[in-house]
Symmetry: C2
Subunit: 267 residues, 2 copies
């Protein structure tokens, strides 16, 4: 494949949501050197401070001097306006100048894992959760794909940062599991509909992030807490860097079936 031979993504517009920390942060840093001069790296997150720090880091790196433009959008993707501002910023990129569009739907929340499903009697809680974690990812993806339609010479790829929880239920994680299962299916439908588009549901494995800390400290289920604590103590959590590296390798090789669910441990 062309992109694999070049060891990079060419001149790309690369959009990463939830870029201020964790997996999204590492992804921004690791993908930057793989983007050719003239590329745009668009980073979205709620925290402006962290985005600016990341932008400064990237500006000081070789990638920046190689002509990479890094743009930040401070946006809450749980709100319609947040999604719109990311799309508006992306549209500033001249479509005809890029040969690769990469959208990483990484932003997500764990939801309230301190309670069991039976306690979710107030539907507005699940409504808000699904709005941020499911509807938002669809509307952002749709908006970006509409702004950058299929054309000869443009390779388009959408990644959903998924989870084992998309395919396996876990006690006290009803929000997270439900949201991830919904997202996987949503992107599978998109893959069916758009044969030219490359769609990947990537489960990054158990990462040593803030989310993991939350998982091992606040999961209502004791076995879940213990399982995560054991992984942490025994050094079995993955670094974001190693999981990002595997994702980038898969994307560069570009021979996965579009719409598939790939787990770090399957690769």
């Amino acid at each position: 494949m062309a992109s694999s031979q070049e060891k990079g993504f060419g001149r790309a517009l690369c959009i990463i949501t939830g870029a201020s920390k964790g997996f999204g942060w590492s992804l921004a840093r690791e993908i930057a050197p793989l983007l050719k001069p003239g590329s745009v790296l668009l980073l979205a997150a709620r925290s402006g401070d962290k985005l600016q720090t990341l932008q400064a880091d990237l500006a000081a790196s070789e990638a920046s001097s190689a002509g990479l433009q890094v743009r930040c959008v401070v946006a809450d993707l749980g709100q319609k306006e947040g999604v719109e501002s990311v799309i508006a910023e992306a549209k500033e990129t001249r479509c005809e100048d890029i040969d690769h569009l990469l959208l990483f739907n990484n932003a997500a929340s764990l939801g309230d894992i301190s309670r069991y499903a039976q306690s979710f009697t107030d539907m507005s809680e699940m409504d808000s959760y699904l709005s941020f974690n499911v509807s938002s990812a669809l509307s952002l993806t749709s908006g970006i794909l509409t702004a950058f339609p299929q054309r000869s010479g443009l390779q388009r790829c959408v990644v959903n940062v998924s989870s084992l929880c998309a395919v396996k239920p876990f006690r006290s994680w009803v929000m997270y599991c439900t949201g991830k299962a919904a997202r996987d299916m949503m992107f599978r439908v998109l893959a069916e509909e758009e044969p030219e588009l490359r769609v990947l549901n990537y489960a990054p494995g158990p990462l040593d992030t803030d989310m993991q800390l939350q998982a091992r400290s606040t999961s209502a289920d004791e076995n879940m807490r213990k399982s995560f604590a054991d992984m942490h103590e025994e050094g079995r959590l993955l670094t974001c860097e190693e999981s990002v590296a595997k994702l980038l390798k898969v994307l560069l090789e570009d021979d996965y079936p579009s719409g598939t669910h790939l787990d770090f441990y399957d690769l």
Copy 2:
């Protein structure tokens, strides 16, 4: 199993959402004779007229004279108040008088199948869809299980009326597939959390209902329309009665693994 030997569900509180037509309507009619005197059949739907017709039908049947109480709740389950009114009505049933609780989460909508995923740029559309089809089912289930807690002598069972779309993506059906995948996972988590509870995700097969008419006439994807039209023309659509019969058989035999997804054609 006891209930299989008795060929019935004992003295039950049986709740069916979306009971005014299609699968829910047939389910109400077929399950009524399997409920012992003293049972309550609680039917919820948006259409009061249709519910009343069904109630009158049931009142004229043998089941009614056998001491079955049929109650109707006109409720929009896309609204918090609708869910609450079903729970309030269920609470009128004296918990200590029943030995079986059956909740059928049947209410659902097809969503807009006339468009492809890429057109869903307005997140409020998916928000409303998921609220009615996912959050509502969780809050109703949680509310009912909380109102009728686990106790010796009470068998509790929750059925999610699922679909092949919960496990397989279809073009132009992004809402329906996403919602059904989310529901399946939500009920799988519930099954993990509540080992005493019986949870079944039942995919009823392609039914000869209003929803099928909508499917074959309005699906954006031509192959989808053709596939449904062929099924209709060739008489391959199932009647609600035959699919309900298979579901009731599974429930009476009661040896499915809790949380599993069972399809009409697997049985």
